[in-house]
C-alpha cells in the first residue's frame, strides 16, 4: 500500500507525520519526494550507502549537419535554444528534455545525450530513500519518476511529498492508494488544506486529514471536516515537548511508545477506510 503525505503549504508537519509513520511500521519504506529540500533524514538518520544518478536526455547539435535554419529554436517552447550567426547554442539548464527540437530538425543534426540532474540516495535495504535535485536544476519530475520506480518492495510505502499543489505533487501522488493531508488548526491551515483537498479530489484519490499542533477539538478545521464529511484520522497535540525534540531532529515516536501506538493506529484507520 502506498500512502502519500502532503500539505497545502510547508511547515505543517508533513515530515513529522510521514517519518513517524514509517518509523512505527514494520516492513515499511520511507520515500522523501520533497526533492528540493528533502529533510526526512534529519530525523530517520539512515546511512545512505547507495547512490544512483538521475539522468535526462539533452540535445546536442552535429555542426556538420546543421544548416543554422533555426527550426529547433522555433520549436523550443522553453527558450533553451539560441541561434546566433547561424550557430546553435543549447542551454541545458533550462532544457525540459521534451525532444521537440530533435523532431523539428530537418537535417537530423540533433541527437540526445544523458545528463545528470539529481541523485537518489538510499540505505542498503531501501527502507529509506530520498531524491535530491542538483542545485540550479529546474525539473523535479524526472527525480520523482525515478523514485516512483523504486517504490515496490515493501508492504507500506510512505511518501513525503513536496508541499503545495504543483505538478510535482501531482506526479508524486497520482498512483497512491491513499493520501494523508497534514494541516494545523489555524485559519492559515484551513485555507491551505482546502487547496490540498482540491488537488486530491481532482485526482480522485481517497484521503483523510491529520491535524498537527492540535489544541482543541472544535477548531475551524474539525468543524470544516465534519461539515464536508472528511475523515480526521489523527490529531497530534501542540506541545512544547514535541516542538523541542523536533528542533533537535527527534520525532515523537523515537522517544514515546504512546505516539508509536498512535501511528500504528493511524495505519489501521487508513486500512479500514480503504478496505
Amino acid at each position: 500500500m502506498k500512502i502519500a503525505v502532503l500539505s497545502g503549504k510547508g511547515g505543517t508537519g508533513k515530515t513529522t507525520v510521514s517519518a513517524s509513520l514509517a518509523y512505527s511500521l514494520h516492513n515499511s519504506q520511507y520515500v522523501d519526494c520533497d526533492v528540493e529540500e528533502p529533510n526526512g533524514n534529519i530525523f530517520l538518520k539512515a546511512s545512505l550507502t547507495e547512490k544512483e544518478a538521475v539522468m535526462v536526455l539533452n540535445p546536442v547539435v552535429n555542426d556538420d549537419l546543421c544548416t543554422g535554419c533555426g527550426a529547433c529554436q522555433q520549436a523550443c517552447q522553453f527558450n533553451a535554444i539560441a541561434v546566433i550567426n547561424k550557430k546553435v547554442m543549447i542551454f541545458d539548464n533550462i532544457c525540459h528534455s521534451c525532444g521537440a527540437c530533435k523532431i523539428a530538425c530537418p537535417t537530423g543534426a540533433i541527437s540526445e545525450v544523458p545528463r545528470e540532474v539529481g541523485i537518489i540516495e538510499s540505505n542498503s535495504s531501501h527502507t529509506f530513500m530520498h531524491g535530491k535535485l542538483n542545485l540550479n536544476e529546474p525539473l523535479t519530475i524526472p527525480v520523482i519518476l525515478q523514485l516512483r520506480k523504486k517504490m515496490n518492495k515493501y508492504n507500506h510505502v510512505i511518501i513525503d511529498s513536496a508541499p503545495g499543489a504543483s505538478c510535482t505533487v501531482v506526479s508524486t501522488i497520482e498512483d497512491c492508494d491513499y493520501c494523508v493531508l497534514v494541516t494545523e488548526p489555524t485559519p492559515f491551515g484551513l485555507h491551505d488544506l482546502k487547496i490540498a483537498i482540491d488537488l486530491v479530489k481532482q485526482l480522485k484519490l481517497p484521503f483523510g486529514v491529520v491535524v498537527n499542533k492540535a489544541m482543541d477539538s472544535d477548531t475551524s478545521i474539525q468543524v470544516f471536516c465534519k461539515e464536508q464529511n472528511i475523515d480526521v484520522l489523527m490529531e497530534l497535540p501542540y506541545s512544547k515537548e514535541i516542538a523541542k525534540n523536533y528542533s533537535k531532529g527527534i520525532l515523537p515516536v523515537q522517544y514515546s511508545n504512546h505516539y508509536k501506538d498512535e501511528f500504528i493506529k493511524l495505519l489501521a484507520t487508513i486500512k479500514e477506510r480503504t478496505s
Binding site: 503549504k9 511547515g11 499543489a165 475551524s220 523541542k244
Partner: protein, 284 residues
C-alpha cells in the same frame, strides 16, 4: 517609498503572522502577498476585493477531437506522460513543450494559454492590498509573483512603505519576490534545519544585493540553534531584529482571526514586533 519583503527558507515559520501584525501597526502603507502557492495574509486582514484578474501564465496542448485520427503519434512522443493511449491530454501533466504538435499529421493539436491563477486587487480601509492564488496543479508561480509586483507598482504612489509577504524556499519564486526590495526580513525557526534554510536564503538575498535582516521565531525551543543563528548573522553583518518565543497563545489568537497586535494576552509579542519594526526602519 520603502519596500520590505518577508521571506523564509521553508514554509510555516511565521512569516505571514509577522506581516499581518505589522499590517495592523504600520501607517500609510501598501501590502502585497506574493506567496502565490499558499497565500495566507488575506485571511487575517479584513479586506474587500475590488477586482479579480485572471492570469494566463502557461501553455498547454489541446487536441481538436474532430480532426484527430487517433494515430497515437502524440502519445508516443510525449515524455511527460500527459497524453493517454486514447489521445486525451491531461492538463495537470502537460508541460506545453509542443512536441506533439510537431508530429501530428492532421494539425489537430495546438498550444493554448492556460489559466494559471488570479490576481486580486483589494482594499483594507483605504490601503491597497494585492494578492494572488495559483491554480491547483499549475506551474509558473514565479510569473504570477512578477505579475503581482507589476500590479503593485501601477497602484502605489504616495505610500511610505510597501510590505510584502514573500514566498518560502530558495528558488526562482523567492528571487522574483525580493527583486526591487529595499530590504528583506528572513523569518526563521530555531530548529535543526532552520540555520541551513536561513543560510541558503540569506545567500540568495546577498547575491542580489538586497540587505537582509533576521527574525528568529520560537527562539527558545533550541537555544543552541538560536546562538548559532546569531553567530552566523554576526559574521555576515546581518542584524537579528526580532526574537519571538514559543507561544501557544499566538495560535489561539490566530484561530480567532486575531494577530498578536490585537490580543491583550500577547502584549509581550506585540512589543517584540514593534521593536522589530523600529529597528528595521532605523537600519534602512
Amino acid at each position: 517609498m520603502k519596500q520590505f519583503v518577508f521571506i523564509s527558507g521553508k514554509g510555516g515559520t511565521g512569516k505571514s503572522t509577522v506581516v499581518a501584525s505589522l499590517a495592523k501597526y504600520v501607517n500609510n502603507k501598501a501590502l502585497a502577498d506574493v506567496d502565490v502557492d499558499a497565500p495566507n495574509l488575506h485571511i487575517l486582514l479584513d479586506h474587500e476585493v475590488v477586482e479579480k484578474i485572471p492570469f494566463k501564465g502557461a501553455k498547454i496542448a489541446k487536441i481538436d477531437q474532430s480532426k484527430c485520427t487517433n494515430c497515437h503519434k502524440g502519445y508516443e512522443v510525449c515524455r511527460f506522460d500527459a497524453i493517454s493511449k486514447d489521445d486525451i491530454i491531461n492538463p495537470l501533466k502537460c508541460e506545453g513543450c509542443g512536441a506533439c504538435l510537431l508530429v501530428c499529421p492532421e494539425n489537430a493539436i495546438t498550444l493554448h494559454d492556460e489559466l494559471t491563477g488570479h490576481v486580486y486587487q483589494s482594499k483594507i480601509n483605504e490601503e491597497h492590498f494585492t494578492h494572488a492564488l495559483l491554480a491547483v496543479g499549475a506551474e509558473g508561480s514565479g510569473k504570477l509573483v512578477a505579475e503581482v509586483k507589476k500590479k503593485v507598482k501601477e497602484l502605489v504612489k504616495e505610500e511610505d512603505y510597501l510590505l510584502i509577504d514573500g514566498s518560502p524556499g530558495i528558488g526562482c519564486v523567492v528571487i522574483a519576490s525580493i527583486t526591487g526590495a529595499d530590504a528583506c526580513v528572513i523569518v526563521t525557526e530555531a530548529t535543526k534545519s532552520g540555520l541551513s534554510d536561513l543560510q541558503r536564503v540569506q545567500q540568495v538575498a546577498d547575491h542580489f544585493g538586497i540587505k537582509s535582516f533576521v527574525c528568529i521565531n520560537k527562539y527558545d525551543l533550541n537555544i543552541d540553534v538560536t546562538k548559532k543563528i546569531e553567530e552566523y548573522c554576526k559574521n555576515k553583518n546581518v542584524s537579528v531584529i526580532g526574537k519571538i518565543p514559543f507561544e501557544p497563545l499566538i495560535v489561539k489568537a490566530l484561530q480567532q482571526f486575531k494577530t498578536p497586535m490585537d490580543d491583550d494576552k500577547l502584549g509581550h509579542i506585540k512589543s517584540e514586533i514593534i521593536s522589530l519594526w523600529n529597528q528595521l526602519i532605523k537600519e534602512t
